[in-house]
Protein backbone atom coordinates (compact mmCIF):
# COMPACT_ATOMS: atom_id res chain seq x y z
CA UNK A 1 0.00 0.00 0.00
CA UNK A 2 1.46 3.33 -0.99
CA UNK A 3 0.22 6.79 -1.76
CA UNK A 4 2.27 9.12 -3.90
CA UNK A 5 1.39 12.82 -4.00
CA UNK A 6 3.05 15.58 -6.00
CA UNK A 7 0.66 18.48 -6.50
CA UNK A 8 0.49 22.24 -6.86
CA UNK A 9 -2.46 24.53 -6.36
CA UNK A 10 -2.72 28.31 -6.23
CA UNK A 11 -5.42 30.03 -4.22
CA UNK A 12 -4.97 33.78 -4.36
CA UNK A 13 -1.64 34.49 -2.64
CA UNK A 14 -1.48 31.03 -1.13
CA UNK A 15 0.46 28.35 -2.92
CA UNK A 16 0.09 24.69 -2.05
CA UNK A 17 3.11 22.64 -3.11
CA UNK A 18 3.03 19.15 -1.68
CA UNK A 19 5.28 16.27 -2.51
CA UNK A 20 5.39 13.13 -0.39
CA UNK A 21 5.01 9.40 -0.35
CA UNK A 22 3.19 7.47 2.35
CA UNK A 23 3.42 3.76 2.91
CA UNK A 24 1.54 1.62 5.43
CA UNK A 25 1.08 3.22 8.81
CA UNK A 26 0.10 6.69 9.90
CA UNK A 27 1.67 9.76 8.35
CA UNK A 28 0.70 12.98 10.12
CA UNK A 29 0.73 16.37 8.46
CA UNK A 30 1.43 18.75 11.34
CA UNK A 31 0.94 22.43 10.62
CA UNK A 32 -0.65 25.63 11.84
CA UNK A 33 -4.12 26.47 10.58
CA UNK A 34 -3.98 27.79 7.04
CA UNK A 35 -0.87 25.79 6.16
CA UNK A 36 -2.74 23.75 3.56
CA UNK A 37 -3.16 20.46 5.43
CA UNK A 38 -6.88 20.00 4.81
CA UNK A 39 -6.57 21.26 1.24
CA UNK A 40 -4.07 18.46 0.62
CA UNK A 41 -6.52 15.83 1.88
CA UNK A 42 -9.31 17.32 -0.23
CA UNK A 43 -7.10 17.14 -3.33
CA UNK A 44 -6.36 13.48 -2.63
CA UNK A 45 -10.07 12.74 -2.15
CA UNK A 46 -10.98 14.58 -5.35
CA UNK A 47 -13.10 17.21 -3.61
CA UNK A 48 -10.64 19.92 -4.64
CA UNK A 49 -8.70 19.88 -7.88
CA UNK A 50 -4.96 20.67 -7.97
CA UNK A 51 -3.69 22.94 -10.75
CA UNK A 52 -1.10 20.39 -11.73
CA UNK A 53 0.71 17.28 -10.58
CA UNK A 54 0.07 13.62 -9.92
CA UNK A 55 -1.65 11.51 -7.27
CA UNK A 56 -1.11 7.76 -7.40
CA UNK A 57 -2.62 5.24 -4.99
CA UNK A 58 -1.22 1.70 -5.18
CA UNK A 59 -0.25 2.17 -8.80
CA UNK A 60 -3.73 3.50 -9.65
CA UNK A 61 -3.55 7.04 -11.05
CA UNK A 62 -6.14 9.21 -9.32
CA UNK A 63 -4.98 12.48 -10.80
CA UNK A 64 -2.49 13.38 -13.50
CA UNK A 65 -2.69 16.84 -15.01
CA UNK A 66 -0.43 15.95 -17.94
CA UNK A 67 -2.42 12.88 -18.94
CA UNK A 68 -5.72 14.63 -18.15
CA UNK A 69 -6.73 12.04 -15.59
CA UNK A 70 -8.99 13.27 -12.79
CA UNK A 71 -11.04 10.50 -11.21
CA UNK A 72 -14.24 11.68 -9.49
CA UNK A 73 -14.27 11.23 -5.68
CA UNK A 74 -16.71 8.34 -6.12
CA UNK A 75 -14.06 6.26 -7.93
CA UNK A 76 -11.05 7.05 -5.77
CA UNK A 77 -11.83 4.63 -2.91
CA UNK A 78 -10.65 7.06 -0.29
CA UNK A 79 -12.05 7.01 3.25
CA UNK A 80 -12.45 10.57 4.46
CA UNK A 81 -13.25 11.24 8.12
CA UNK A 82 -14.49 14.81 8.47
CA UNK A 83 -14.04 16.93 11.58
CA UNK A 84 -17.74 16.86 12.48
CA UNK A 85 -18.07 13.35 10.97
CA UNK A 86 -20.59 14.52 8.30
CA UNK A 87 -23.10 11.76 9.11
CA UNK A 88 -26.32 12.25 7.15
CA UNK A 89 -28.76 13.71 9.71
CA UNK A 90 -31.88 12.42 7.98
CA UNK A 91 -30.74 8.78 8.01
CA UNK A 92 -30.43 6.26 10.81
CA UNK A 93 -27.08 4.79 11.82
CA UNK A 94 -27.90 1.69 9.79
CA UNK A 95 -28.87 3.68 6.69
CA UNK A 96 -25.77 5.83 7.02
CA UNK A 97 -23.58 2.75 7.00
CA UNK A 98 -25.56 0.93 4.30
CA UNK A 99 -25.51 3.75 1.75
CA UNK A 100 -21.76 3.40 1.31
CA UNK A 101 -21.74 -0.36 0.57
CA UNK A 102 -20.80 -0.82 -3.08
CA UNK A 103 -21.70 -4.48 -3.32
CA UNK A 104 -25.51 -4.43 -3.16
CA UNK A 105 -25.83 -8.21 -2.75
CA UNK A 106 -23.69 -8.32 0.38
CA UNK A 107 -25.12 -5.12 1.85
CA UNK A 108 -27.21 -6.43 4.75
CA UNK A 109 -24.53 -8.81 5.89
CA UNK A 110 -21.75 -6.22 5.58
CA UNK A 111 -23.72 -3.64 7.56
CA UNK A 112 -24.54 -6.11 10.33
CA UNK A 113 -20.91 -7.19 10.59
CA UNK A 114 -19.68 -3.58 10.71
CA UNK A 115 -22.25 -2.65 13.37
CA UNK A 116 -20.98 -5.50 15.51
CA UNK A 117 -17.33 -4.67 14.91
CA UNK A 118 -17.79 -1.00 15.76
CA UNK A 119 -19.90 -1.80 18.85
CA UNK A 120 -22.98 -0.01 17.52
CA UNK A 121 -25.51 -2.73 18.39
CA UNK A 122 -28.77 -1.28 19.61
CA UNK A 123 -28.13 2.05 17.92
CA UNK A 124 -29.08 0.89 14.39
CA UNK A 125 -32.33 2.87 14.29
CA UNK A 126 -31.01 5.99 15.99
CA UNK A 127 -30.29 9.21 14.13
CA UNK A 128 -26.83 10.82 14.37
CA UNK A 129 -27.97 13.66 16.64
CA UNK A 130 -29.19 11.10 19.18
CA UNK A 131 -25.68 9.65 19.51
CA UNK A 132 -22.87 10.65 21.84
CA UNK A 133 -19.63 12.00 20.38
CA UNK A 134 -17.95 8.60 20.65
CA UNK A 135 -20.86 6.79 19.01
CA UNK A 136 -20.88 9.33 16.20
CA UNK A 137 -17.22 8.74 15.57
CA UNK A 138 -17.69 4.98 15.53
CA UNK A 139 -20.66 5.31 13.16
CA UNK A 140 -18.65 7.57 10.84
CA UNK A 141 -15.71 5.15 10.88
CA UNK A 142 -18.07 2.22 10.28
CA UNK A 143 -19.56 3.98 7.27
CA UNK A 144 -16.10 4.61 5.87
CA UNK A 145 -14.65 1.15 6.55
CA UNK A 146 -17.64 -0.78 5.18
CA UNK A 147 -16.82 0.93 1.89
CA UNK A 148 -13.38 -0.76 1.92
CA UNK A 149 -11.25 2.32 1.23
CA UNK A 150 -7.64 1.96 0.13
CA UNK A 151 -6.45 4.90 2.19
CA UNK A 152 -7.85 6.66 5.27
CA UNK A 153 -7.78 10.45 5.48
CA UNK A 154 -8.44 11.91 8.94
CA UNK A 155 -9.13 15.64 8.86
CA UNK A 156 -8.54 17.04 12.38
CA UNK A 157 -10.93 14.45 13.80
CA UNK A 158 -10.50 15.41 17.46
CA UNK A 159 -9.96 19.14 17.42
CA UNK A 160 -13.57 20.11 18.11
CA UNK A 161 -13.87 17.88 21.19
CA UNK A 162 -13.58 18.52 24.91
CA UNK A 163 -10.28 17.30 26.26
CA UNK A 164 -11.64 14.40 28.34
CA UNK A 165 -13.64 13.04 25.41
CA UNK A 166 -10.79 13.69 23.07
CA UNK A 167 -8.35 11.31 24.71
CA UNK A 168 -10.86 8.46 24.74
CA UNK A 169 -11.91 8.96 21.10
CA UNK A 170 -8.30 9.18 20.10
CA UNK A 171 -7.64 5.78 21.65
CA UNK A 172 -10.68 4.31 19.91
CA UNK A 173 -9.54 5.72 16.58
CA UNK A 174 -6.08 4.31 17.24
CA UNK A 175 -7.49 0.84 17.61
CA UNK A 176 -9.42 1.14 14.34
CA UNK A 177 -6.42 2.53 12.49
CA UNK A 178 -4.28 -0.32 13.79
CA UNK A 179 -6.70 -2.91 12.45
CA UNK A 180 -7.04 -1.08 9.12
CA UNK A 181 -3.35 -1.65 8.46
CA UNK A 182 -3.12 0.41 5.26
CA UNK A 183 -2.02 3.96 4.60
CA UNK A 184 -3.47 6.58 6.92
CA UNK A 185 -3.02 10.33 6.58
CA UNK A 186 -3.76 12.38 9.68
CA UNK A 187 -4.04 16.14 9.56
CA UNK A 188 -3.65 18.02 12.83
CA UNK A 189 -2.24 21.08 14.54
CA UNK A 190 -1.94 19.27 17.87
CA UNK A 191 1.56 17.92 18.48
CA UNK A 192 0.51 15.57 21.31
CA UNK A 193 -2.19 13.97 19.22
CA UNK A 194 0.21 13.61 16.30
CA UNK A 195 2.91 12.08 18.46
CA UNK A 196 0.50 9.55 20.00
CA UNK A 197 -1.14 8.47 16.73
CA UNK A 198 1.44 8.79 13.98
CA UNK A 199 4.43 6.76 12.91
CA UNK A 200 5.85 9.44 10.65
CA UNK A 201 5.44 13.19 10.77
CA UNK A 202 5.66 15.87 8.09
CA UNK A 203 5.96 19.46 9.32
CA UNK A 204 4.12 21.94 7.13
CA UNK A 205 4.57 25.64 6.54
CA UNK A 206 2.82 27.92 4.04
CA UNK A 207 1.59 25.13 1.81
CA UNK A 208 4.60 22.86 1.69
CA UNK A 209 6.47 20.28 3.75
CA UNK A 210 9.50 21.62 5.60
CA UNK A 211 10.72 18.41 7.13
CA UNK A 212 9.51 14.86 7.38
CA UNK A 213 10.59 11.65 8.98
CA UNK A 214 10.07 9.14 11.74
CA UNK A 215 8.26 10.92 14.58
CA UNK A 216 10.95 10.52 17.28
CA UNK A 217 13.59 11.88 14.94
CA UNK A 218 11.44 14.82 13.83
CA UNK A 219 10.46 15.76 17.38
CA UNK A 220 14.08 15.45 18.58
CA UNK A 221 15.45 17.60 15.76
CA UNK A 222 12.82 19.74 14.09
CA UNK A 223 15.47 21.67 12.06
CA UNK A 224 13.51 24.90 11.49
CA UNK A 225 11.98 27.57 13.73
CA UNK A 226 8.52 26.69 12.47
CA UNK A 227 9.22 22.99 13.07
CA UNK A 228 10.46 23.71 16.59
CA UNK A 229 7.28 25.69 17.34
CA UNK A 230 5.01 23.01 15.84
CA UNK A 231 6.63 20.33 17.94
CA UNK A 232 6.07 22.44 21.04
CA UNK A 233 9.43 24.07 21.67
CA UNK A 234 8.72 27.41 23.36
CA UNK A 235 12.25 28.76 24.02
CA UNK A 236 13.66 29.97 20.72
CA UNK A 237 16.36 32.59 20.20
CA UNK A 238 18.14 34.01 17.17
CA UNK A 239 21.89 33.31 17.29
CA UNK A 240 25.20 34.53 15.94
CA UNK A 241 27.98 31.97 15.51
CA UNK A 242 31.02 32.67 17.71
CA UNK A 243 33.30 29.79 16.76
CA UNK A 244 32.97 26.15 15.74
CA UNK A 245 31.04 25.14 18.82
CA UNK A 246 29.78 28.34 20.43
CA UNK A 247 26.92 30.62 19.52
CA UNK A 248 25.64 33.85 21.01
CA UNK A 249 21.89 33.69 21.68
CA UNK A 250 20.81 37.27 21.00
CA UNK A 251 17.34 37.14 22.56
CA UNK A 252 18.70 35.80 25.84
CA UNK A 253 22.08 37.55 25.84
CA UNK A 254 23.86 34.23 26.53
CA UNK A 255 26.92 32.61 24.94
CA UNK A 256 26.16 28.90 24.60
CA UNK A 257 28.24 25.86 23.76
CA UNK A 258 26.33 23.60 21.40
CA UNK A 259 26.76 20.09 20.06
CA UNK A 260 27.14 19.69 16.35
CA UNK A 261 27.96 21.83 13.34
CA UNK A 262 26.99 25.48 13.69
CA UNK A 263 27.33 26.45 10.02
CA UNK A 264 24.12 28.01 8.76
CA UNK A 265 22.47 27.91 12.19
CA UNK A 266 20.19 30.94 12.59
CA UNK A 267 18.32 30.04 15.77
CA UNK A 268 18.53 27.68 18.70
CA UNK A 269 15.73 26.23 20.76
CA UNK A 270 15.47 24.35 24.02
CA UNK A 271 12.37 22.72 25.44
CA UNK A 272 11.21 24.10 28.78
CA UNK A 273 11.60 20.77 30.58
CA UNK A 274 15.19 20.46 29.31
CA UNK A 275 16.27 23.59 31.20
CA UNK A 276 17.49 22.25 34.57
CA UNK A 277 18.26 23.88 37.91
CA UNK A 278 21.89 23.60 38.88
CA UNK A 279 22.28 24.47 42.60
CA UNK A 280 26.09 24.36 42.75
CA UNK A 281 26.43 26.72 39.78
CA UNK A 282 29.10 24.58 38.11
CA UNK A 283 28.95 22.92 34.69
CA UNK A 284 28.51 23.78 31.03
CA UNK A 285 26.09 26.48 29.93
CA UNK A 286 25.18 27.25 33.52
CA UNK A 287 24.01 30.81 34.13
CA UNK A 288 22.63 32.87 36.94
CA UNK A 289 18.97 33.87 36.48
CA UNK A 290 16.37 35.92 38.24
CA UNK A 291 13.00 34.14 38.60
CA UNK A 292 10.89 36.85 36.96
CA UNK A 293 7.58 35.01 36.96
CA UNK A 294 6.10 31.74 38.15
CA UNK A 295 3.25 30.13 36.28
CA UNK A 296 1.52 27.25 37.99
CA UNK A 297 0.33 24.36 35.79
CA UNK A 298 -1.80 21.49 37.15
CA UNK A 299 1.21 19.26 37.81
CA UNK A 300 4.23 21.43 37.24
CA UNK A 301 5.56 24.98 37.45
CA UNK A 302 6.87 27.10 34.63
CA UNK A 303 9.45 29.62 35.80
CA UNK A 304 10.39 32.49 33.52
CA UNK A 305 14.13 33.05 34.00
CA UNK A 306 15.82 36.34 33.16
CA UNK A 307 19.61 36.19 32.82
CA UNK A 308 21.07 38.49 35.52
CA UNK A 309 24.03 39.56 33.39
CA UNK A 310 21.97 40.63 30.39
CA UNK A 311 19.41 43.26 31.32
CA UNK A 312 16.46 43.61 28.96
CA UNK A 313 16.94 40.13 27.53
CA UNK A 314 14.04 37.78 26.80
CA UNK A 315 13.29 35.22 29.54
CA UNK A 316 13.96 31.50 29.20
CA UNK A 317 11.14 29.26 30.37
CA UNK A 318 11.93 26.34 32.68
CA UNK A 319 9.33 23.71 33.52
CA UNK A 320 9.81 21.43 36.52
CA UNK A 321 7.75 19.39 38.98
CA UNK A 322 6.09 21.41 41.76
CA UNK A 323 7.98 19.68 44.55
CA UNK A 324 11.31 20.25 42.89
CA UNK A 325 10.62 23.96 42.47
CA UNK A 326 9.44 24.19 46.08
CA UNK A 327 12.81 22.80 47.22
CA UNK A 328 14.92 25.03 44.96
CA UNK A 329 12.86 28.18 44.95
CA UNK A 330 14.66 31.48 45.26
CA UNK A 331 14.81 34.96 43.79
CA UNK A 332 18.05 34.02 42.03
CA UNK A 333 18.87 30.60 40.73
CA UNK A 334 21.51 28.83 38.67
CA UNK A 335 20.20 26.84 35.73
CA UNK A 336 21.76 24.90 32.86
CA UNK A 337 20.92 24.79 29.17
CA UNK A 338 22.65 21.44 28.49
CA UNK A 339 24.45 21.49 25.09
CA UNK A 340 23.06 18.12 24.06
CA UNK A 341 19.52 19.43 24.60
CA UNK A 342 19.96 22.54 22.47
CA UNK A 343 18.18 22.20 19.12
CA UNK A 344 20.01 23.81 16.19
CA UNK A 345 17.67 25.50 13.77
CA UNK A 346 18.33 26.71 10.26
CA UNK A 347 15.73 29.22 9.01
Amino acid sequence: MALFVDIEKKLGDFRLQMRFEAGNGVLALLGASGSGKSMTLKCIAGIERPDKGRIVLDGRVLFDSERHIDLPPQKRRVGYLFQQYALFPNMTVEQNIACGVRDRAARTEAVREMIRRMRLEGLEKKRPRQLSGGEQQRAALARILVNEPEVLLLDEPFSALDSHLRFRLEQEAREVIGRFGGTVLLVSHDRDEVFRLADRVALMKDGSIEAAGEKHAVFAAPRTVNGARLTGCKNISAVRALDGEHVFAQDWGLALRVDGDVTGVTHVGIRMHDVTPCPDGAGENVFRFRAAEEIENPFSVTVMLRPTEAEGAQPVGMELPKEEWAARRGAEIFAALPPEKIILLRG
Partner: protein, 223 residues
Protein backbone atom coordinates in the same frame (compact mmCIF):
# COMPACT_ATOMS: atom_id res chain seq x y z
CA UNK B 1 -73.44 28.06 -6.15
CA UNK B 2 -71.22 27.11 -9.08
CA UNK B 3 -68.02 25.64 -7.67
CA UNK B 4 -66.03 25.90 -10.93
CA UNK B 5 -63.85 28.89 -9.80
CA UNK B 6 -62.65 26.88 -6.77
CA UNK B 7 -61.69 23.87 -8.89
CA UNK B 8 -60.06 26.10 -11.51
CA UNK B 9 -58.05 28.05 -8.92
CA UNK B 10 -56.83 24.84 -7.30
CA UNK B 11 -55.70 23.20 -10.53
CA UNK B 12 -53.94 26.35 -11.76
CA UNK B 13 -52.16 26.83 -8.43
CA UNK B 14 -51.39 23.10 -8.14
CA UNK B 15 -49.90 22.71 -11.61
CA UNK B 16 -47.85 25.89 -11.45
CA UNK B 17 -46.54 24.95 -8.00
CA UNK B 18 -45.37 21.54 -9.25
CA UNK B 19 -43.67 23.09 -12.28
CA UNK B 20 -42.02 25.84 -10.24
CA UNK B 21 -40.99 23.41 -7.51
CA UNK B 22 -38.62 21.69 -9.93
CA UNK B 23 -37.65 24.79 -11.92
CA UNK B 24 -37.01 26.85 -8.80
CA UNK B 25 -34.95 24.16 -7.09
CA UNK B 26 -32.84 23.40 -10.15
CA UNK B 27 -32.17 27.10 -10.81
CA UNK B 28 -31.31 27.63 -7.16
CA UNK B 29 -28.92 24.64 -7.16
CA UNK B 30 -27.04 25.63 -10.30
CA UNK B 31 -27.01 29.36 -9.62
CA UNK B 32 -25.68 28.84 -6.09
CA UNK B 33 -22.62 27.19 -7.70
CA UNK B 34 -22.19 29.75 -10.52
CA UNK B 35 -19.42 32.38 -10.63
CA UNK B 36 -20.18 35.59 -8.73
CA UNK B 37 -20.99 37.85 -11.67
CA UNK B 38 -23.30 35.34 -13.38
CA UNK B 39 -24.97 34.79 -10.02
CA UNK B 40 -25.54 38.50 -9.46
CA UNK B 41 -27.08 39.07 -12.90
CA UNK B 42 -29.30 35.97 -12.87
CA UNK B 43 -30.40 36.75 -9.35
CA UNK B 44 -31.76 40.14 -10.39
CA UNK B 45 -33.43 38.80 -13.54
CA UNK B 46 -35.09 35.89 -11.74
CA UNK B 47 -36.27 37.95 -8.78
CA UNK B 48 -37.77 40.83 -10.75
CA UNK B 49 -41.30 39.30 -11.03
CA UNK B 50 -41.48 39.48 -7.25
CA UNK B 51 -41.35 43.27 -7.24
CA UNK B 52 -43.14 44.02 -10.51
CA UNK B 53 -46.86 44.85 -10.38
CA UNK B 54 -48.77 41.76 -11.60
CA UNK B 55 -50.30 43.87 -14.37
CA UNK B 56 -46.82 44.55 -15.74
CA UNK B 57 -46.12 40.81 -15.70
CA UNK B 58 -49.42 40.27 -17.51
CA UNK B 59 -48.58 42.91 -20.07
CA UNK B 60 -45.15 41.40 -20.75
CA UNK B 61 -46.62 37.91 -21.04
CA UNK B 62 -49.22 39.15 -23.54
CA UNK B 63 -46.43 40.75 -25.57
CA UNK B 64 -44.75 37.35 -25.87
CA UNK B 65 -47.65 34.90 -25.90
CA UNK B 66 -50.41 36.96 -27.57
CA UNK B 67 -51.74 35.51 -30.85
CA UNK B 68 -50.04 38.27 -32.86
CA UNK B 69 -46.78 38.19 -30.92
CA UNK B 70 -43.72 36.06 -31.86
CA UNK B 71 -44.16 33.01 -29.62
CA UNK B 72 -47.95 33.10 -29.59
CA UNK B 73 -48.16 33.44 -33.37
CA UNK B 74 -45.70 30.62 -33.92
CA UNK B 75 -47.56 28.20 -31.62
CA UNK B 76 -50.84 29.18 -33.25
CA UNK B 77 -49.55 28.50 -36.76
CA UNK B 78 -47.71 25.26 -35.91
CA UNK B 79 -50.06 23.65 -33.35
CA UNK B 80 -53.23 25.67 -33.96
CA UNK B 81 -53.40 26.46 -30.24
CA UNK B 82 -54.06 29.88 -28.72
CA UNK B 83 -51.90 30.51 -25.66
CA UNK B 84 -54.15 33.15 -24.16
CA UNK B 85 -57.73 33.24 -22.86
CA UNK B 86 -57.86 29.54 -21.90
CA UNK B 87 -57.95 28.24 -18.35
CA UNK B 88 -54.36 27.00 -18.54
CA UNK B 89 -53.11 30.39 -19.79
CA UNK B 90 -53.29 31.42 -16.15
CA UNK B 91 -50.55 28.87 -15.39
CA UNK B 92 -48.07 31.07 -17.28
CA UNK B 93 -49.06 34.05 -15.17
CA UNK B 94 -48.98 32.30 -11.79
CA UNK B 95 -45.74 30.48 -12.64
CA UNK B 96 -43.90 33.70 -13.43
CA UNK B 97 -45.24 35.37 -10.31
CA UNK B 98 -44.44 32.53 -7.89
CA UNK B 99 -41.07 31.50 -9.37
CA UNK B 100 -39.05 34.02 -7.32
CA UNK B 101 -40.62 32.82 -4.07
CA UNK B 102 -39.56 29.23 -4.73
CA UNK B 103 -36.19 30.16 -6.16
CA UNK B 104 -35.20 32.48 -3.32
CA UNK B 105 -36.26 30.21 -0.47
CA UNK B 106 -34.59 27.19 -2.09
CA UNK B 107 -31.40 29.15 -2.68
CA UNK B 108 -31.28 30.34 0.91
CA UNK B 109 -31.77 26.74 2.05
CA UNK B 110 -29.00 25.44 -0.23
CA UNK B 111 -26.61 28.15 0.87
CA UNK B 112 -26.92 27.10 4.50
CA UNK B 113 -26.37 23.45 3.60
CA UNK B 114 -23.22 21.89 5.09
CA UNK B 115 -21.17 21.00 1.99
CA UNK B 116 -19.12 18.42 3.89
CA UNK B 117 -22.23 16.20 3.84
CA UNK B 118 -22.19 16.20 0.04
CA UNK B 119 -18.42 15.76 -0.01
CA UNK B 120 -18.51 12.79 2.34
CA UNK B 121 -21.26 11.27 0.18
CA UNK B 122 -19.01 11.58 -2.86
CA UNK B 123 -16.09 9.89 -1.15
CA UNK B 124 -18.46 7.08 -0.13
CA UNK B 125 -19.19 6.48 -3.80
CA UNK B 126 -22.72 7.90 -3.84
CA UNK B 127 -23.83 9.42 -7.13
CA UNK B 128 -24.44 13.16 -7.29
CA UNK B 129 -28.12 12.52 -8.08
CA UNK B 130 -28.48 10.34 -4.98
CA UNK B 131 -26.74 12.95 -2.85
CA UNK B 132 -29.01 15.68 -4.21
CA UNK B 133 -32.31 13.89 -3.56
CA UNK B 134 -31.41 11.85 -0.46
CA UNK B 135 -29.00 14.13 1.41
CA UNK B 136 -29.19 17.73 0.22
CA UNK B 137 -32.97 17.94 -0.25
CA UNK B 138 -33.91 16.34 3.10
CA UNK B 139 -31.42 18.59 4.89
CA UNK B 140 -32.97 21.63 3.21
CA UNK B 141 -36.57 20.47 3.43
CA UNK B 142 -37.67 23.08 5.97
CA UNK B 143 -36.82 25.95 3.64
CA UNK B 144 -38.03 24.21 0.52
CA UNK B 145 -41.32 23.20 2.10
CA UNK B 146 -41.91 26.74 3.28
CA UNK B 147 -41.14 28.05 -0.21
CA UNK B 148 -43.50 25.55 -1.85
CA UNK B 149 -46.43 26.36 0.40
CA UNK B 150 -45.83 30.07 0.06
CA UNK B 151 -45.69 29.69 -3.72
CA UNK B 152 -48.94 27.68 -3.74
CA UNK B 153 -50.71 30.22 -1.55
CA UNK B 154 -49.50 33.09 -3.73
CA UNK B 155 -50.59 31.26 -6.91
CA UNK B 156 -54.05 30.78 -5.41
CA UNK B 157 -54.33 34.50 -4.78
CA UNK B 158 -52.95 35.65 -8.16
CA UNK B 159 -55.27 38.18 -9.80
CA UNK B 160 -53.60 40.85 -11.97
CA UNK B 161 -51.58 38.86 -14.48
CA UNK B 162 -54.16 36.07 -14.53
CA UNK B 163 -57.05 38.35 -15.44
CA UNK B 164 -55.01 39.89 -18.27
CA UNK B 165 -53.87 36.65 -19.88
CA UNK B 166 -56.83 34.36 -19.14
CA UNK B 167 -59.60 36.91 -18.79
CA UNK B 168 -62.85 36.15 -16.98
CA UNK B 169 -65.18 33.67 -18.64
CA UNK B 170 -67.60 32.07 -16.19
CA UNK B 171 -67.25 28.28 -16.30
CA UNK B 172 -64.07 28.47 -18.41
CA UNK B 173 -61.35 30.74 -17.03
CA UNK B 174 -62.92 32.12 -13.85
CA UNK B 175 -60.81 31.75 -10.71
CA UNK B 176 -61.78 32.66 -7.16
CA UNK B 177 -60.02 36.02 -7.30
CA UNK B 178 -61.44 37.04 -10.69
CA UNK B 179 -64.88 35.82 -9.62
CA UNK B 180 -64.85 37.93 -6.45
CA UNK B 181 -63.94 40.98 -8.48
CA UNK B 182 -66.66 40.28 -11.10
CA UNK B 183 -69.34 39.65 -8.45
CA UNK B 184 -68.47 42.78 -6.56
CA UNK B 185 -68.43 44.82 -9.78
CA UNK B 186 -71.89 43.52 -10.73
CA UNK B 187 -73.27 44.27 -7.24
CA UNK B 188 -73.73 40.61 -6.28
CA UNK B 189 -72.46 41.30 -2.80
CA UNK B 190 -73.88 38.20 -1.08
CA UNK B 191 -72.19 35.76 -3.48
CA UNK B 192 -68.94 37.74 -3.46
CA UNK B 193 -68.93 37.43 0.33
CA UNK B 194 -69.38 33.66 0.13
CA UNK B 195 -66.36 33.37 -2.16
CA UNK B 196 -64.36 35.55 0.19
CA UNK B 197 -65.20 33.12 3.00
CA UNK B 198 -64.13 30.18 0.80
CA UNK B 199 -60.84 31.90 0.09
CA UNK B 200 -60.25 32.62 3.78
CA UNK B 201 -60.98 28.98 4.63
CA UNK B 202 -58.48 27.70 2.05
CA UNK B 203 -55.78 30.08 3.29
CA UNK B 204 -56.37 28.99 6.87
CA UNK B 205 -56.15 25.31 5.89
CA UNK B 206 -52.88 25.90 3.99
CA UNK B 207 -51.26 27.69 6.92
CA UNK B 208 -52.49 25.07 9.36
CA UNK B 209 -50.99 22.38 7.13
CA UNK B 210 -47.61 24.12 7.22
CA UNK B 211 -47.65 24.27 11.00
CA UNK B 212 -48.62 20.61 11.31
CA UNK B 213 -45.96 19.53 8.83
CA UNK B 214 -43.27 21.46 10.62
CA UNK B 215 -44.23 19.97 13.98
CA UNK B 216 -44.26 16.48 12.57
CA UNK B 217 -40.88 16.85 10.93
CA UNK B 218 -39.16 18.65 13.77
CA UNK B 219 -37.80 15.47 15.49
CA UNK B 220 -35.94 14.51 12.32
CA UNK B 221 -34.19 17.82 12.07
CA UNK B 222 -30.47 17.81 12.60
CA UNK B 223 -29.38 19.39 15.83
Amino acid sequence: MDWFPLWNSLRIAGISTVVIFFLGILSAYYIAKAPRIVKGVLDVVLTIPLVLPPTVVGYLLLRVLGPKRPVGAWVLSVFGVRLTMTWWSAIFATSVVIFPLMYRTARAAFESFDETLAQSGQTLGLSNTYIFWRVRMPACRQGILAGTVLAFARALGEYGATSMIAGYTPGRTATISTTVYQLWRTDNDALAFRWVMVNLAISAVVLLAVNLLEKKQAPGRSG
